[in-house]
Symmetry: C2
Subunit: 374 residues, 2 copies
């Protein structure tokens, strides 16, 4: 696709929670993902890929030589450029704004570094309930501004070719990062926190949820046409604790967004929930008011399809990203088989997790083409 | 319990695969875990804890000052001593021999180091199918000897107080370590290997399985009264790949051991499979010939109980080890509730994963007592 960062635009409305009016944006050419998320039949199965803009693309690595990770996120024309990059190569049916789930903890006053070998790192994680006093309720007008400017610019720059996805981390996942200070094999620090201080945990989860709701709605007001919540650590707690520390906050987010959508129909966008490793709670998740559910690759797509039909929910996923290392014939056969089960209504094709950095772009192309062959 | 490392013993039979004859060992006082594994009713629910001998115990840390990890594993009187340690403190219903799942790769010619901050590390992991040529078929008489001596000594030293569990890593889990060279958040190197080289992967899995079978049978011949297979990485592959690269080898192990048990009834011991994070394959696993199934804490114990009754299988687990960080009243209530669901037939209480090193022994005691209250 011939996509460039737009050079001049009408100004974005000054307030973060003022819907921008769909009329400002170019008319849409491809709305498959919106239709699929709403359960409507489509001509071709829509496909996008978690982390589709990023480290496996040589053109991204070139940008990365000049800007560090969070500078890209907060520099709208650069964030827009890297968001457009995969769309120039592949017949993707959606763009997802280049950003990070850990911008929300930053809004709340926590410093986050992206360390080259180690990934995200918080120099001052929450060590005790006392530390939670450091968390602030952000001023959205200033805190959100670069992210909303990126969305607005990217929506214009996409020229209506495909819809733009906005996103956030889920409250529980953000909490675990804020406590651990980074990634972990076991996340025992945050699980210790939760079980040793359950009430304080809930207070923090509520603070995070409030910021997440406001940020998501602001993204929609600025041009995001579909929203995904990444609850990447949803598999860390057993069912009873999941019901206490994860599900209520995910529910709040969906209820908030649906209520806003009823108030201002132009902000009524589909909501996707990706609760990774929480296949054991699939039916409970399908009973929430999200429209679509991202599935990791451990979930049997045919069983999930049956459940999706029962609850009138769209499913999304769930190709093992490691399967993109297989020979291209294998990728083609497996992706085709998966998409056939998913079908042309109530299904969005994707990987079961973010694409790995050492993936060949040619192999990703094979995956996308195979889906569109169905 | 008054348990000391036995000082003089009748000699262990010279061959690793000669059943030792139950008559050599002291008569058993507590066989709850054996009864429960076979689905018989018990007076109290048996309980043991994965990694019950180890880093959370001050007396273990004292031993660790003088011996490195694999030296403990290969020095029978030291391995026996640390195996007995938790039995002196807690009313556990089983001992598990102090060893490691990664001794099997060592038998096959791979060097494994246990690095203080990093955990297990292979200086020369398998980088390509070519590297698999380095793998050897061990001579069991020499390779297994210290491990079998430890089992024999510990079985005698236990004086029949509780049964002794032998164990191994599952073939797939061992393969992932051999390829990754250590732990990982994503295990992409090994998953890449599998999908890029499926036939070579199966050859290696078969080699590992053959060694595992021989080693497990040797443990039983030397005095192990129950066996657990730790397939700790069972959750890494989706259902189709699980059926191709994990389940067949787990099945082979159970079939082999059951066949040996029919040949020599004194080696007919219960088999437990702990396929961590593979709750999505629970029904398929229950259709294998293992007697009991360890469950991680994401599995709803009441649903697993129903499935266990359907397939006449024992379930084991599944207290979240992080829940041992909770106040003792919470531990007591949650453990009691779990054990009540598990019940006095077809259930063995345990954690859903190995105990974490910073757990308070007092909190573990509360857990064990609460189970025995049911």
């Amino acid at each position: 696709m011939d996509l460039q960062v737009a050079e001049s635009l009408p100004p974005r409305p000054t307030s973060h929670n003022t819907p921008i009016g769909q009329a400002n944006f170019p008319p849409m050419e491809n709305t498959r993902i919106l239709q699929a998320a709403r359960g409507e039949e489509v001509d071709k199965i829509p496909v996008w890929v978690m982390r589709q803009a990023g480290r496996y693309l040589p053109e991204f690595l070139k940008v990365k030589e000049s800007y560090d990770f969070f500078t890209i996120c907060t520099t709208p024309n650069v964030a827009c450029e890297v968001t457009l990059q995969p769309l120039r190569r592949f017949a993707l049916d959606a763009a997802i704004i280049f950003s990070d789930i850990l911008v929300v903890p930053q809004f709340m006053g926590m410093e986050v570094l992206m360390l080259p070998a180690k990934g995200p790192s918080f120099p001052q994680p929450l060590l005790s309930p006392e530390d939670a006093k450091r968390l602030i309720k952000p001023d959205p007008e200033t805190a959100f501004k670069p992210y909303l400017d990126s969305i607005y610019l990217t929506r214009h720059s996409l020229k209506g070719k495909v819809p733009l996805i906005g996103f956030t981390g889920g409250p529980f996942t953000l909490f675990t990062y804020m406590v651990e200070g980074g990634s972990s094999n076991t996340f025992t620090k945050s699980r210790k926190w939760i079980f040793a201080h359950p009430e304080e945990t809930k207070n923090i989860l509520q603070m995070i949820t409030d910021v997440v709701c406001e940020f998501l709605y602001a993204q929609v007001c600025s041009g995001a046409q579909i929203i995904q919540v990444f609850e990447s650590h949803a598999g860390l707690l057993g069912p009873a604790d999941f019901n206490e520390f994860i599900l209520p906050y995910l529910n709040q987010i969906a209820s908030f967004m649906k209520a806003k959508g009823r108030e201002n129909p132009e902000t009524d966008v589909p909501l996707i929930l990706f609760a990774k490793d929480a296949g054991f709670m699939l039916e409970e998740l399908f009973m929430t008011s999200y429209d679509a559910f991202g599935l990791d690759w451990t979930i049997d797509i045919s069983k999930a399809k049956v459940l999706g039909q029962k609850y009138k929910k769209t499913i999304q996923g769930n190709f093992d990203p490691a399967m993109l290392y297989a020979p291209q014939d294998t990728i083609r056969a497996r992706a085709f088989a998966m998409a056939q089960v998913g079908g042309k209504s109530g299904y969005i094709a994707n990987l079961g997790h973010g694409i790995y950095p050492d993936t060949s772009p040619d192999h990703l192309q094979t995956f996308i083409e195979a889906v569109h062959t169905v």
